[in-house]
Amino acid sequence: MSDTDSGSVLSDHERATIEAAAARIVPSDEGAGASEAGVIDYIEGLLAADDVDTDISPREKKEYANFILGGMGGRTEEQQATLFKLHGTGSRHLQAYRDGVVELDRVAAELASGKDFRGLDDAGRDQVLTVLDERKDAFFTLLLTHTMEGFYGHPRHGGNKDRVGWRVLDYPGPSFPHGNEKPYGWYDANEPDEFVQEKKDGSS
């Protein structure tokens, strides 16, 4: 469990190290990066879900599934969050992250005479991450995947705060219930269309 008072499953050092690494995976530039998007909060949410007992029986699994049965439309935010976590269970990542932080610090110390990962500047941090990337390190791929999920995923899971990840792409986000009007893009606006959409009376 946590060695801090924050209720987090990570220690302050672990949290700060993961946050610093994520900030190099999606760096801040003229647009927001992983730091502004709160990717660390997304990751910590996932790891907290991993902390619950996922060794569930078929019966428990069915109970989880039954939870969905009545439809999610009427569920509270909290219930939906629980549902999401249960659906995300089945892989335990917390230990991988703990070991990953140790490894980031170990490689950093090797490359920069005793400093830990957080003690490095951006270039030094990139160098450490490149070492892990090039040797196809499983933790690095996990961190990279979760960072992209936390940056570009739906804000309801704790990352992509204020939709900053979508703003980087000039993406307005999911359009339901409004939908989209034609034209959609440049090509359907400009390329002649010989098949004009006709709405038929479906009653015949």
Binding site: R24, A65, G90, T147, M148, V168, P177, K199, K200
Partner: protein, 551 residues
Amino acid sequence: MAEHETVDVCIVGGGASGLVAAKELTEAGMTVCVLERGPWYKREDFALGDELMYRRRNFFWPTVELEPRTWRPDADTPAEVLSTKTQTFSNAMCVGGGTIHYSGLSWRFHESDFRVKSEDGPVAGTTIEDWPISYDDMEPFYEKAEWTVGISGQGWSSPFDPPRKRDYPVGPAARNSPGAALERGARKLGLHPFPTPLAILTGDYDGRPGCIGKGMCSAYGCPVGAKSSTLESLLPKALATGRLEIRPLCLAREITLDRNGKASGVTYFNGEGEEEHQPARLVVMAAGGVETARLLLLSESARFPQGLANRSGLVGKNLMFHSPGVTLVVTFPEPLDGHKGTSSTRVLHDFYKSDSSRGFIRGGFMHPRAHGGDPIELALRPIHGKRWGKEHKDSMRETWRHYLHSHCTGESLPVESNAVDLDPDLTDCYGLPVARITYTSHENDVRLATYLGERSREIYEAAGATRIIVPKPETRKLHNHQMGSARMGNDPGSSVVDKWCRSHDVSNLFIVDASVFVTSAGLNPTLTIEANAFRVCDYMVTEARKGNLIH
């Protein structure tokens, strides 16, 4: 074990074919129970626009820890457990099945697709055969499927289509920019793009509204109700009869037999994980090309030591997953804005007709897609130069509004060793052996996939693309098109079901999913699954009325 009251028909699987059967048989006056292993979602459950939850978690698919499957390329190689990524490239396990999240491409197979051996065979290493039915047998049921399920399109717009008597009930979907980009290139090359027939309404029909172009279409459920899933189009009609009971979260474990060797019902695990038995006068298998075979193999007995309805030894064999890709990623100088509209709106069938001078037989087609709005999916694609950092982020900016992915779908030839059987080493959370898939694409399939990829490249070059990535053919381990594992035929020695999809061995057992396909065609299978299920149900109802089926 709890014993339910006997029904006329127990259907295993509530997806494309299962809900066709539920509607047709209840409307004909039969009492029906559908066992569906997954949950029963409603339209509003698909409203969240959440790539993470719907696409990247186990919303539609069981986790690999609880309900794994395994794969090996051949019988000499140890099987590996399929990854979450592969497992989720499969049909949803929920009421509506794959029709909940499919792109909705709704094809009539071509006339030649029903007589592959006559046209192109035999081919070494394959078991190609003619179907015991022809396009003419299917035509009225294609029309019935199009009008009952609700398919949009423009009849007679493709010069390659098989003959039809009636247009689609609603007009084609609004063209998106990936479709327009395909047209731009294809017309320059003298090819014939046309509007994709889709199980997506474009205007009010049958009490449901038309598409609002919201994106998040392929791989997502439709919160509008415009996608013509069987959940939306057929289930309400079946429920309205008052003769249907649908039981979600119920996993069938065995088809039971009476002492005369006829099916007597289905044993299953209910939502609490407890066993129950549903007695039935008829059993209809509709669990898809992997799980139907698995359940038949699990239902072994002294009478059927090789598995139920398997005197031919062919249950599970001749599995077909379509040709192994390829999926191109293409960028254009002007915005495509692929987060808007339905995914596929224009397709090309110019390369569909079989032509052995190309170095392979059979064919397939190209369908560019609007991505729908999946930035995580794009971020993790290996197309950005670097996987992370400033360069990756800039590539995301440059790509997002400007890319499409273009699928090639082609025929896969049946190979007897491509098969589903029971894994001897691995069980699921119920303690049942999991499906083990043995699959390697035939060389013909690989050549076809490569060919379609290269023709696609030429089209996008002509269209003025700035970047075209054509990957190598994929290793197919699982797919959402699962066909052939209980093929139909006239000879009980070389097929599992007859031309009415009735087991040669068990007279009150029918199979209505794509397991019965003899060959795969190079087209998305769902409309053919549905049309064939309508055809089989028509026969069942006729026979039942004569007193030949239900006594």
